[in-house]
């Protein structure tokens, strides 16, 4: 039997949570509606949930670029898949070693990891390293490796998870039964790490999906543009053209007729859509992994 007080408490929680989720959902709805509003309407009357004049002009502008948009989607999916897989594997291996009590050189490895959280080479040296010595300009690895492949934070999260959720006794028992180190990792530790794999994978995946800076720095070949870079470029081009329309330069034949306000909204939606679709499938792991991994630093 659920007590009366308990039921009232439940109801209150529901109301509070509903309000909070409304705060999150309403802007998203406005975004969707705005992307279907006509540009003149927004200029005249501002954003509204119930626009008088609907229009597809923003999507038409993006649709005109569809060949590039779909190609860029392909690049992003490829990069996200490869990057997330390799990234998660490396993170797990690093974290497993750090979680191991008796691993030699553990202190150094931990420090080495921690050091990268505080210091980095800065943009220009990094750029020179990747372009002139590693020759990565305009290559797919340039979208995968710089800055995204491994995050020290994820490693620490995973290490903490393994330390507190995979009992050392279990590994020992496996070893007594004759398992090698690798078998212990694969057959005993990995299956117990599913929640943290999902979490780290989601972090990494989102990182790859949303990244446009690597593209901005390292990619000039339009065939290797990722979707975020393409969309970001569209926004920046519109901004540049409207900002400089008044300067000394004569931009006679460009910039006219782009539905600026609504295109921005439509672009946000195009970038968001796949994530919206994927998220429900991984979120059950997500909550578990992050809450367990974060306890006990």
């Amino acid at each position: 039997m659920v007590g009366k007080q308990e039921r009232r408490y439940q109801r209150m929680i529901t109301v509070v949570l509903a309000l909070i989720s409304l705060i999150m959902v309403i802007p998203l709805v406005l975004l969707v509606v705005a992307s279907f509003t006509s540009n003149n309407e927004i200029v005249l009357h501002g954003y509204s949930f119930f626009p008088k004049e609907l229009s597809l002009e923003a999507y038409r502008y993006i649709w005109n670029e569809r060949a590039q948009v779909f190609h860029a989607y392909g690049i992003t999916i490829l990069v996200t898949a490869i990057g997330t897989t390799i990234g998660v594997m490396m993170t797990l291996l690093y974290a497993y070693v750090l979680a191991h009590e008796k691993f030699p050189g553990k202190t150094f490895l931990a420090f080495y990891l921690f050091f990268t959280m505080l210091f980095n080479g800065g943009l220009v040296p990094t750029y020179i390293m990747y372009t002139r010595y590693l020759h990565m300009k305009n290559t797919i690895p340039a979208l995968i490796i710089p800055g995204l492949l491994m995050s020290a934070f994820n490693v620490i999260l995973t290490r903490t998870y393994i330390q507190s959720n995979v009992p050392a006794a279990l590994s020992e028992a496996a070893k007594i039964d004759g398992a090698t180190e690798f078998q212990v990792f694969r057959k005993v530790v990995l299956p117990m790490c599913k929640p943290i794999i999902a979490t780290v994978g989601l972090f990494a995946g989102l990182g790859y999906w949303n990244d446009w800076t690597n593209g901005l720095y390292y990619i000039t070949d339009t065939n290797k543009f990722s979707i975020q870079q393409l969309l970001n470029n569209m926004i920046k081009n519109i901004e540049f053209l409207s900002k400089n329309a008044n300067s000394n330069i004569n931009l006679a034949s460009v910039g006219g007729g782009i539905p600026q306000e609504t295109v921005r909204m439509a672009i946000a939606i195009v970038g968001l859509l796949p994530i919206l679709i994927v998220f429900p499938f991984v979120q059950k792991y997500f909550v578990k992994g992050i809450s367990i991994g974060a306890v006990k630093g």
Binding site: N40, F111, V124, R132, L216, Y217, E239, A245, N250, G257
Partner: protein
Amino acid sequence: MRKKMAAAVLMAAMTASLLAGCGDSKSSDSTKADSAQTTASNQSEAGDSTSDLKDGKTEELLMVWPGSNASPADMQAVEDAMNEIIGEKVDAKVKLQIIEWGAYNDQTNLMLSSGEKLDMVFLMSNIREDGQRGQLYPINDLVETYAPDAYGAMERYIEACYFDGNLYGLPTYRDLASQAGFMCRADILEELGYKAEDIKNFDDIEEVLKKCQEVHPELYPMIPSDLNSGCFLNYVKGEFDVVTSGVGVDIDDDASDGITVINTYDTEKYKEMAEKAYDWNQKGYFMPDSTTNTTTRQDLFRANTAFSYYGNQHPGTATQETMNSGKEIVSIPIGRSTISTSSVNFCQWAIPAQCENPKKALAVLNLLYSDSDFQNLFRYGIEGKDYVVSDGIASYPDGVTSDSVGWGNELWLCGNGSVGYAWETDPENVYEKFTEYNDTAQESPLYGFIYDTTNVKNEITAITNVTDKYKAIIENGDADPSTTLPQFNEELKSAGIDNIIEDMQKQVDEWLANK
């Protein structure tokens, strides 16, 4: 023990970074020395240009400029055709690369500072900073030998591209002067019973706006020309040459008895503007909330909400605005037309320091300033496919639009566009008009002076914060200038504007003495 080790590692890391710092400055020193050396050796070789350019070694030169489409359909065809023309004069081939507007400055900065392959670049940033960092190749001694036509065509304007005694860029043919004007809807002006020729000063404008307010209460009589700024942003344009942070000179300052550097916000002219802005704002001529507006003027015109704005004007503004806003716009010059260092050198072609054969690069750029076939190719693409010509005017072939065309560049990045065809939407005799506009402009007393901001970086940041706070509000008349303006100047003083004035005065005096 562990602590000690950590300390040791840290020490090592810090030393390494220190060393790296040293190495860096050394290498840039040496590039400078190198380029100085090459310029010296070039001097002795100068005069024998053909043998340098036709040396039998075909070098590939990477040419980078901005555009709205990074890989237009006819890129390869244009590149091949360009190489054919180049091949006759220079043993070199160009590789073309367009970077989209939005990413342009970031990517060219990285390319310049990393020293990767780059031979000709269209710069839209300040040549002073790039030149200072040793990223550009000084072309003083090469330009007259290897790019004589470019030098000849731009001679009056090339002065603005010198820094520290070195020439770093070739300005392009465009509206090199600048002037403010009154732009308004042609249909409504006519309806109100005025002619464009009748409007000559701000009293005339006020009369028109007043009438507009009565007849068309649904329109904002005046909107700001730029985002997040006041309607009178350009009111004092042409009265001062503002070098940085509001510090500059009066355009009428006579250089013969020395030049006085002033705070342009603390002048009678600025005050007059502030008072007029306040007055007009009170009368309701301005669009409300101009200073927080994020909708471009073109969109405001298109949505049928605006009558006029006061902004930059040059030959062709009317056609350009008409095209971009979908309403017929007439442009009426009001302010003085002036030419200053910054109006010329904010975009130009330059040779990066890493260029391996600056002579050939210059010779290729020279074609852009002299060869009409090369010019047309670079600006419009392949004749018959990307454009057609009738009576010396180029236009799109049937069925081709600005969206579907396979190639196209703007006049202002094409070197000397006047050697090529005019475009159909350009005003009649566009090149004569541009040349006249440029040649008749009044030169700023500081024309050719480039300010070295090294000593006052902090002050500039502090002043930017103050101007962000006050400038738009004052220029839109949102607050009574009798209190706001003194307050503004007070804060500018405490942000260190006097240091900038003093520092700039020193540099100006030196510059004048050496002139």
